[in-house]
Symmetry: C2
Subunit: 434 residues, 2 copies
């Protein structure tokens, strides 16, 4: 039995760190800790930990013996170590850092000062800097020395004595050149770089637009601080998309299929209470017209259709606009033009859908006036929905909030409240029910 | 004036093709065609076209003189040319291909046979294949020759005489080795490859998990067909995320902030009619209980709250599950365990929110029974919503449909219909209103 386990462990050691990470996250806490300890003894724990979600790896690491944890952390890539440390309490962070080799600790504490959703939070400081008066042969010697620890050697950056960024050098050009060629004849000086404080989403858009593999990160004095590689950016894109998708359905950001039911309950309940509050707000409008409904119960049948359709048309608009924002397609559009377009669409959709509903209502109840009320209420609500679908995300963005997250809640509140109000007020006017 | 235009054009020529592409897509059709013609005269039209969305670049190219169009297309990367051609009518495709140089045309027609959402549709055939008995110096000579046309030279693949894939060679290892070293001592034979028919989403998940920069594409005989690089995969990820986000809000897949209002109208209307049909289905339930509502109008106030809350809890579940599917996190979960978890959550959420609503109802109307009806209807609906939130996406996936797209419509139909039915049936039972 022990023999068989050993064989399995040997096989695991040969796998890609991402595969080992997958095994670790599927095991129970106790088993995972045991496996991590065995990996540690074979100096194979740091890489898989770097491949895991930081919240998972942080939990795993804190279950280990403190001394082991510190040694593993010191062997991790500094950017992965930082992501992990950020998940731990301040106390533990300090304790661990005070035990790490002082140079390594300095690098990590520097990185910890950058917000995780900024270029600084994404970058690795392990970037290869070369001097322009080097020859290709000298550059290859430096690359050989740095190959192990550097984030990548496919791109290196030319810097002057004060570490100011001067240009980019690709391994492609270096490898294909003659050994005695000077780097100054290979360097591309039109280098695009990102400031360390740039937003992670903007960095992702740059990678997407220009198909970069790596970008240098600089400070305000144009000094080279680090490098961002495309694999870090892919994680940002995935997270961003998850954030936007979760936002639309009011799902808590930290939840996934792996979350336990009790954690899910605690995280989802606040959102459900928000939804309840907005639903009650809309119900208040209905309650005001209880008398009207008692007389014309058909209004109760129609009200859900009209409010729902407003919500649907408005959500279409919000979705297109917030997605346009996320993909960086909004800069070339002006708010008032989009507003005009969506109001126009609201009128057209509202007329077509409204007339359909009006005819159905007339056929059902035989009352032309009730059909007209249904049609007009639908029209008003889709026009408001279209306008709100533009104004809510643009407004939230102007206030510095993420429009993908709260827009939906605001919209449905407006379309429910106004959908009901339009219907009952028109009924009151046309049918003189009160 | 002409002088100024010339200066602007010269400046444009110095920009990154992605920037030129951006300018092209912002101009009017007529201006864009003119600019493309000028770029063509400077042999600078192919790259920007390759950076544009294929539907835009196809439109632009078809406005050009046919002969020019053919010459530009022949200069494009074959994978970009294919994406563009796929947007053109079959007729035009054939006409263009018959005028392209026959070797180039063969490459393009071969690529056209692969579905665009498969590994074959993503790959470039311009991959560097090396023989294992070569020396590093010989390999560098080959790379130098192929550097211009190859998709990338950072990764090359070792193949035998019959072009069977044997391993991967990185420029990193080649560049750092001594010139006389044999490639057989540098090759990594544990190479991960994708079959040409693999789904684009699966390819994206592989890149995401292993942080690859490039992957070789093989046929059933393990022969090397091409290479997929990470920049192509980023586009897949973006499109996938857009698809999922659009699906949630029933937004037509081809719409963006750039779409004209009339195209938007035509594309959105079918979806709105689907929503109208499902809303009318739910309204039929309400219509059945018109008498009940006329007697207890408070039910009309409550019904929207209960149906809406069911929709919200169910959408949370659907969102987490479909996102888990998209991120490849679902394999390690079993359907029945997720179902149990979500039913448990439905019970807990339903009780907490239901009791809240029950108390509010009691305080409002002073009728304890009406409060109990509201509470129970809420509980039943959130339990059904939780269960449906698991069953609908799993069912759609089992049927081979994209769960992110239609799940929401099915769910709200169920939660509306049952939400109303629970409330009215309970009212009938408890309050004996009929």
């Amino acid at each position: 039995m022990m023999e068989k386990k050993k064989v399995i462990f040997q096989e695991l050691l040969r796998k890609h760190p991402a595969d080992i990470a997958e095994v670790l996250s599927q095991l129970s806490d106790e088993q995972a800790t045991k496996l991590l300890h065995r990996l540690y003894l074979r100096q194979a724990a740091a890489e898989p930990l770097g491949e895991m979600d930081p919240d998972e790896s942080a939990e795993l690491l804190s279950d280990l013996d403190r001394e082991e944890a510190i040694k593993i952390l010191a062997r991790m890539d500094p950017d992965d170590a930082v992501d992990l440390l950020e998940e731990l309490p301040q106390e533990t962070q300090k304790e661990i850092l005070s035990n790490v080799d002082s140079k390594e600790a300095q690098v990590i504490s520097d990185l910890l000062t950058y917000p995780s959703d900024s270029a600084g939070g994404l970058m690795s400081p392990e970037v290869v800097a070369l001097s322009l008066d080097m020859s290709v042969q000298q550059a290859i010697d430096v690359l050989r020395q740095r190959a192990e620890e550097a984030e990548t050697i496919y791109f290196a950056y030319a810097v002057d004595d004060q570490h100011h960024l001067q240009g980019v050098l690709s391994l492609r050009d270096i490898a294909l050149a003659q050994p005695e060629t000077r780097l100054s004849s290979l360097v591309e000086i039109d280098v695009i770089s990102v400031p360390v404080e740039a937003d992670a989403e903007e960095v992702a858009l740059l990678f997407d637009k220009y198909n970069f593999y790596a970008l240098p990160v600089i400070d305000q004095q144009v000094k080279l601080l680090g490098i961002i590689t495309i694999d870090d950016v892919i994680d940002v894109m995935r997270e961003e998309a998850t954030e936007d998708i979760y936002g639309m359905a009011s799902v808590p950001m930290n939840e996934s299929v792996d979350t336990s039911w009790f954690s899910s309950l605690r995280m989802r309940l606040p959102w459900l209470y928000v939804r309840l509050a907005t639903a009650i707000l809309a119900a208040l409008v209905v309650a005001t017209f209880e008398q009207t409904i008692a007389k014309v119960a058909a209004l109760a049948v129609l009200m859900g259709v009209i409010a729902g359709q407003g919500g649907s048309t408005g959500m279409q608009t919000i979705t297109i606009i917030t997605r346009g924002m996320a993909l960086g397609e909004m800069q070339r559009h002006q708010g008032h033009k989009l507003l005009r377009k969506e109001i126009l669409l609201g009128v057209a959709n509202g007329l077509i859908i409204g007339i359909t509903l009006g005819i159905i209502t007339y056929l059902w109840k035989g009352q032309p006036l009730l059909g007209a009320v249904a049609c007009l209420a639908m029209l008003f609500n889709t026009v408001v929905a279209g306008a709100m679908g533009v104004l809510i995300p643009l407004g939230l963005q102007a206030l510095g909030k993420d429009p993908a997250i709260a827009s939906g809640v605001f919209l449905t509140t407006v379309t429910d409240v106004l959908g009901f109000a339009f219907l009952f007020l028109l009924a009151h006017l046309f049918l003189r029910v009160i």
